[in-house]
Symmetry: C2
Amino acid sequence: MKHLLYTALFFFGVMQYANSQQLKSPNGKLAMEFALQNDGTPSYTLNYKGKTVIKPSKLGLELKNDKKSLLNDFAIIDSKMTSFDETWKPVWGEVESIRNQYNELAVTLNQKETNRQIIIRFRLFNDGLGFRYEFPAQKNLVYFVIKEERTQFAMTGDHTAYWIPGDYDTQEYDYTISKLSEIRGLTEKAKTANLSQTSFSPTGVQTSLMLKTNEGIYINLHEAALINYSCMHLNLDDKNMVFESWLTPDEKGVKGYIQAPTQSPWRTIIVSDDAREILASKLTLNLNDPCKIEDTSWIKPVKYVGVWWEMISGKSTWSYTDEFPAVQLGVTDYSKAKPNSTHGANNDNVKRYIDFAAANGFDAVLVEGWNEGWEDWFGHYKDYVFDFVTPYPDFDVKAIHEYAKSKGIKMIMHHETSGGVRNYERHMDKAYQFMKDNGYDAVKSGYVGDIISNGDNHYNQYMINHYQYAIEKAADYKIMVNAHEAVRPTGICRTYPNLIGNESARGTEYQAFGGSKPNHVTLLPFTRLIGGPMDYTPGIFEMDLSKFSPSNKSHVNSTIANQLALYVTLYSPLQMAADFPEHYNKFPDAFQFIKDVAVDWSESNYLEAEPGQYITVARKAKGTNNWFVGNVNGYEPRTSNINFSFLEKGKKYTATIYADAKDADYKTNPQAYVIRKIQVTNTSKFSQLSVPGGGYAISIIENKK
Amino acid sequence: MKHLLYTALFFFGVMQYANSQQLKSPNGKLAMEFALQNDGTPSYTLNYKGKTVIKPSKLGLELKNDKKSLLNDFAIIDSKMTSFDETWKPVWGEVESIRNQYNELAVTLNQKETNRQIIIRFRLFNDGLGFRYEFPAQKNLVYFVIKEERTQFAMTGDHTAYWIPGDYDTQEYDYTISKLSEIRGLTEKAKTANLSQTSFSPTGVQTSLMLKTNEGIYINLHEAALINYSCMHLNLDDKNMVFESWLTPDEKGVKGYIQAPTQSPWRTIIVSDDAREILASKLTLNLNDPCKIEDTSWIKPVKYVGVWWEMISGKSTWSYTDEFPAVQLGVTDYSKAKPNSTHGANNDNVKRYIDFAAANGFDAVLVEGWNEGWEDWFGHYKDYVFDFVTPYPDFDVKAIHEYAKSKGIKMIMHHETSGGVRNYERHMDKAYQFMKDNGYDAVKSGYVGDIISNGDNHYNQYMINHYQYAIEKAADYKIMVNAHEAVRPTGICRTYPNLIGNESARGTEYQAFGGSKPNHVTLLPFTRLIGGPMDYTPGIFEMDLSKFSPSNKSHVNSTIANQLALYVTLYSPLQMAADFPEHYNKFPDAFQFIKDVAVDWSESNYLEAEPGQYITVARKAKGTNNWFVGNVNGYEPRTSNINFSFLEKGKKYTATIYADAKDADYKTNPQAYVIRKIQVTNTSKFSQLSVPGGGYAISIIENKK
């Protein structure tokens, strides 16, 4: 009898899943609890080292035309816990080997009234939590429409946030550092002008969102694997300090058209009491699918120069002629046009850059403004704005390709779409084939201005689908993509490593549009770069633009040493030396660092970090024993104290240090730097002053016998 | 002194254009006056045989973000009158030779405050007026945005109108015949259910709009050459009886993005006191540009059968299996699916149609439902809904092609887009190439349901651009296009004769969806067909659908004789015998007419016509001396009295008459017909009763010696 009872109890105990489930990280420091509230609403909590970092937060999705939605009335009908521990090698990266280790809880929920099932899958890593919704194949849930995703992140207090305003069209804002409670009052000021912008809430912010609690816990909120779904922003309930997901709508306000079986992107929460661990986290990449490209031999990091900054600064123009107020591609006869004297992308100038690239060990040259259509490219909702294959009369595609090839240089293509997404897709195969036919392996694409075909913004599901289409088709053509003004990345470069970059944040160009905050680059790695590398295009040596573009009074808010450091602190497999050869030729000793610095790494150590204040990182150049160190500094002068314990014991190295001069200052004396060489080993210590908006860069080269 | 004065007066008289300009048609019966009103608003008036048909009506465009717009403050700075008289040959048509004769007035207007110029070009033909706005290349008017076009058509009274409600997504309504003043009260009832519909005004109507004044003057309003512009509807001010153009908006309410130099479509007004002249008018074609396709040898009229009606009627399905609630193309393995027993497009059934086509002298077979994706094709806003190249397991593309080829039959391709326009464009090259690779020359395309990528409706500028893109790309591939649910045509088939058809109105399928009014086909030539041929897909012999599709209680509101007549009265170079072989085999003597009737004509004579009541037309088969006559009748029994004076004098012919039996009726006795043969010459007269929803068809074959 007894054993029958025990059997029954066991059976009952097994079949009735506890309404709460726990999960711990492999090292036990993070603990998550999943629980169903009384009305069957799923929720989760996250603790770090025994303290709550995310208070009980609801999960679910509100559906359109569906009285029930997927919000509540759930019961747990299955629960699986597994562990995973694997090491994988990225094609390029901050490190050559990444450990993917987590404990996973997959909870299957059944909605009682509707008999619909969803799975919420949690993966708890040592550095944070990722979770997503999965919609398995089933009869009662096939097609549905998302009105809003209702994923909460309940904050434990009025944290410090490092944020930009939520916006459906741009991320190109300076960061604001404030308490959560202050966001509402500061958001208008934070919304500086942009060619395309659409805010949605006075307390809306974008991800990744960096936070720091009063207790010194760092929290980063983002998403991973944004595919076939709408981009997530966060909206703050600033009474209760609860963030909720706010997806990007289409023109009808719909936030997603979903067909099961499928899944949402991962919602990610990186947690540490050490800011360096946030920067070092590989959680976003680990949550993405493994590489889908079989042969990746054609994917290579690139150091490049190009015809770009001269147009951004106003010294040159993208356009070829001033004669036409408008052009009609295929009709307008450019051969009859009087060329202006300002067209940057002309044969002579481009060859000059090719020569410079070849003489200085660069891989490639980017040219913007090479193709017909720039006279009226922006702001006219022009459908057939570019064809991506017809050069201006003064840009000889074949001759340039031959010249570059003879010098061992690759040309980088430029596809500005002007937000004309249909036009780009119509031409994409021909455009990619044109690239292959003319020796181009990589393309910088752009989506400047409002998305044409109207009503579409930059970040809804329809546009996410487009960016992915461009990446996947590029992979078919063995083409690398660097997409500007596209959605900010979410680790997809693990799956498609031909996505070698995005801008999708406030880049160097804004130094020419009025300047960025001097601590901007101490924030980007904590925010924008969590999802993937940024084509920040650093390396500006002449900070006073009026010196060469008289009507441009903008000033680059950075010292030269800070610019050098960016090649190390702003990780990217795609690095531009953005300034003009003549500016580099003025400071050849400083420029040497840019020539020497690697673009691909086997190891990365974050030595010091505080968002908004400073970052110091040391990276080992892949396939060598050489290291590079970079430090970027914020508003306050600061002495950085590090050691070189990352060097190999027993080896001797020559360190060349490029640092701010004592009297340097990003505003008043940006070009003052000092260079010194010292011998170092792994026991060496290092102390260096960085000025406001300053920093330092160090190349550490192994002494060969 | 005097001659100086005269010179001055002359100079003054020449330079100051009279604020009104007159234009007459070549035969003088139509007279137009263009005039500037006191505030510089352009306007026009139209007289027919000395009587006003269009009262003074304003012209102009309201611009977005432009205080001035292009509405008033104009002065005439140039005025040119020219004449044109040319004959051209269409690739296919109702006639083999078309005379294009008009007097033209081109008025250049300068807006004083803004110094912007527009040209309004008027062409006055013997059968009507066409005019358009032109925006020449100029500094002060390059890019502009249309808020609304404000072209008026001021009616002289409360005319009878033959109308369908204005709608951004469908034209598939039965026509309502009413006074203009009654439109408002009848529009709700007129808006029968449709899979995609968006009305905009209680007095909005679509074009072409047929009108008849109380004095018996027939007026038709439409547009010609709708290219890169938004589709025009008409909105009635029913206090003043003035129609005004109402363009189709995009999701932001914008009605057009315009780049000068360019022009609007032609706004057309066909006028006659003889309804037959409305039907015979070639004004719409004449206003379009000449053929742009150099080699048109691949463009051929087509008589076809197909696997279609069985799905429309509910007897078969487009889908292959009932096992999946949803499919993922490229993932779902159809080879593992249990086929349903209802899939129409299977090899055996298709071969049956090929045999039938070959045995009966048809050119081609259309097959719908041949390709993967039909299980969830509609209503889910599914982006990747079809790939247009992957057949179901039971449709062997190559084998079917070989089989058809061996029998001298062509296969007609089907591309249903489900409104997924971006998906269609992504696949279009591959889809067209697949057609060429597999022997398909013609494609029926469809846009069923709302346009995906949302906010787009079927008829705005963006979509007009898409339909044109599909046609022009098809021409590159030497493919003929028959676009259903697309914008109604506006004569573009002159420029692109590979556009061999559209549906874009309420076709035969509605006879399966509840039925259409029995006089529907006496209206279509006065309305829908003014802009181009319609793939009406007639030839239904079994009017009671429940006989073969038990759950479908719909009844085809037409007699068999009426169905035969449609091959003559509803001109189309693309004619389907839409019913099943077994239904034709039941009535082989009636079917003989469909086998015999031509699809391409050298002459067409409209013998009798009254919108909503009857149409009788005689057409000469191109390249022969044979004629075919068709009569369709409305609600009232009527005796048609015609003569055969169109026959060649001195020749003898055998006329086979297919007519309603005396007791036939579209509702109660639709299949009752009588066939008789008589000998006729050009002096013969003919009298025949047509029943309600009835008609007759005659083949007149020259007696060979």
